[in-house]
Every structure is written in C-alpha cells, then in structure tokens.
Symmetry: C2
Subunit: 191 residues, 2 copies
Amino acid sequence: MGRPKNFEPDVAVAQAMETFWTKGYAGTSPADLAEATGVGKGSLYHAFGSKRELFGKALDLYGQVGSEMTEAFLNEPGTAKERLRAYLALLVDIDLDGPVRRGCLAASTALELGGKDPEAIRAVQRMTDATIGLFADRIRKGQRDGDVAKEVDADAQAHFLMNTVVGLRVMAQTHDGPVLHRIIDTAVAGL
Amino acid sequence: MGRPKNFEPDVAVAQAMETFWTKGYAGTSPADLAEATGVGKGSLYHAFGSKRELFGKALDLYGQVGSEMTEAFLNEPGTAKERLRAYLALLVDIDLDGPVRRGCLAASTALELGGKDPEAIRAVQRMTDATIGLFADRIRKGQRDGDVAKEVDADAQAHFLMNTVVGLRVMAQTHDGPVLHRIIDTAVAGL
DNA sequence: TCTGTTCTTGAACTACAGGTCAAAAATTGG
DNA sequence: CCAATTTTTGACCTGTAGTTCAAGAACAGA
C-alpha cells in the first residue's frame, strides 16, 4: 500500500554509479545525482538515506557487474593466456574508448576514501579478491587443459595480474593504447 | 622592499603537498591548507593565487622529490634486479608504514582529475615518464654490467615496472605486506 | 469515501567552500 | 621620518553541499 515509487531503485543506483564513476565521490553532489537519475533530491534521500549509502549501493553494483563480465569473458574459448590477455586488452580499450577518461571506480575509491572510510575499503577489497579468484580459477583450468605449465603458481600469477589491471586502469588516464598494450604483452609473458 | 613574507613559500608548498596527498584535491579546503601551513587563508591566496595553482606547485614538488629519491636509490650498489626489487619494496613499505594510508598523489590525481584537468594530467604524465626513464636507464646499466640478459627489452620492462608500481600503490590501500611483496617477486621475474 | 501508508515536491536551513577586499603592519630607500 | 611597496589579518561575500521537513499526491484496504 502507499503511493508507488516513481522510479526503479535499481536503475537509479546504476545511474548514480555512472555519476560517481565519472566525478568521484566527493565530486558528486546531491544535485548531480538528482539530475543523473531524474529523481528529486528529496526522493533520493527518502529512498536511500544519504549520499554515502547510495554510494555503497553503487559500489556493490559496480563489483557485481564487473564480476559477471569478467567471469563470462574469461571462459570463452581459448587458452588461459589468450583469454587473460584479451581481458586486459578489453579493459584498456573500454577505458580509452569513452568520451571521458574515468578509470576504475574501485581504484578511485581506494585512493579517495582510503584511511577514512574503512567500510568502503572493505568493499573494494572484496571485489578485488573476487577478481583474483576468477583469475586463479582460469589459470588452474589452463593447467588442467595443458596450456599453462604445471610449475606456474596460479595464485601468485592471479594476484600479479590483478595488480597489473589496477595499474593499467590508472595509466589509461595518462598514456595511450600502444603503450598500454605493450605493458599487457610484458605482463602475460609469465604464463 | 615591502613587508617581508612571514613564511617560506617552499615549506608551505611542501605542507600543502602533504595535505593534498592525504585528503585529495577536492577533499582539501582552503581552511585545511591554512591550518597545515600555519599561513592565513588570505596570505595563501595572495602568494599563490588559487587553490589550483598551489596544487600545481605541490604536484611539481611531489614529482621532483620522487624523482630524486628514485634515482639515488636505484644507483646504490647491487644488480639491476636487486635494486629494482628493493625500490618497489621500499615504496610498498612506506605506503604501509604511515599512520594513514594515502597511496600515491600522482595516481590519485590521475583518477580524480582525469578528463577534467588536462594540465594536471600532463603533469602526472611527465613524472611518470621520468620514472620510466630512470627504470630503463638502470636496466640498460644492468645489461652493460652483465647482470641483465641482452635480450631483455629495457624500455618495455621499464614501462611494465612503472605499471606495477602504480598498481602496488593502489593495492596498498586494500592489501597487506605479504601479498604485495609476493606481487613484487612475480613482477621482477622477467629481469 | 474515509483512513492509514508511502512517496514526491519544493522550500528551507546550516555549514562551509572558495575567494575577495580594505585596512593595518612591516619593511627599504630617500 | 616620509613615501612607496609588499604582506598580513580578518571580516565579508556568493554559491553550493548535504540534509531535513512540511505539505500534498497516489495508492490499498475497510
């Protein structure tokens, strides 16, 4: 009962995510969020409580979407090395393609809120670790398939690749495609 | 002639740098800067013109200090691999040691101001490229000294190591020492 | 159609960001 | 000591951040 919502909360969270992604947490105002979602400021506060809470939902969505995308992409046909290289290249290309460079929301959050918002940091950590897990799984699958040497430490490589991804998405703010693709080539050499 | 300055501009820039580093560009207010430097808001504006201009000086100082530190550290006795590994480990340890995690000012700037402040991005790019140059020089020295294989592409390795450094300094916000040191081990394996 | 409930709207409010300015203070040269 | 110059101080200003709230609108059930 009661008056029905005038908007889809999930959609609003997705739109808020885009805005936080582009402008950063501190750089996004309630007015920005109202404009991005098409929902009045008052309604947003009624529905989500505060800017910080809405950001939390946006972060979670970011992690979830990224995780699904990663898993699907890694498990398309190909060797582990091919798939991982293609994945890194995809991320870089997406970063470079957009009309505006905005990097990675998780990395921005880690740097912007590090040391002053432990809950946000934990959320970033969760999504990072999830990705590391997907990398490690794919490498182990490669070992079972015979396209990755048995001696490779899947877990170490997975952590290392995650680190490379983070680096790439920051460096995509300042450097261009050829440079980044050469970095990818060097990074996947260990597989 | 005229009334003498009550503060050392260079010192104030250094203090401003610390503040921007800890709180980010958007997160630092003129009041914060006045408190950090011990200089009145009015005087700061008189001396530096605007928050953005002071930030520019702070960024330049950050690059200069980092560059000098890097060059000195890389050229202490040891093989290229030893020195580069020690350098990455040093950065990580510094990041982890502080009372507050604050990552890398250059990376924060790239993410926060990317796509809306081309001049800041260029400054970050300059300091990144300077570091890449130092890495490449040190690797080539290693090749002359015989501790790095001739086949290694010094330039590609230098770019790759820069990328690794950036990744590490972001991941230092969310992960702990052992994890990061294992990433370093994996990264320097190609030398 | 009256009631209770949930949502929307727009105004309102406090605090602070970012910056400006006028007046006074501290210096040097004449 | 006076003039010119440069800095300091602190008040002041405009705009916006982040949030709250009162009033009304849209529903379901009795």
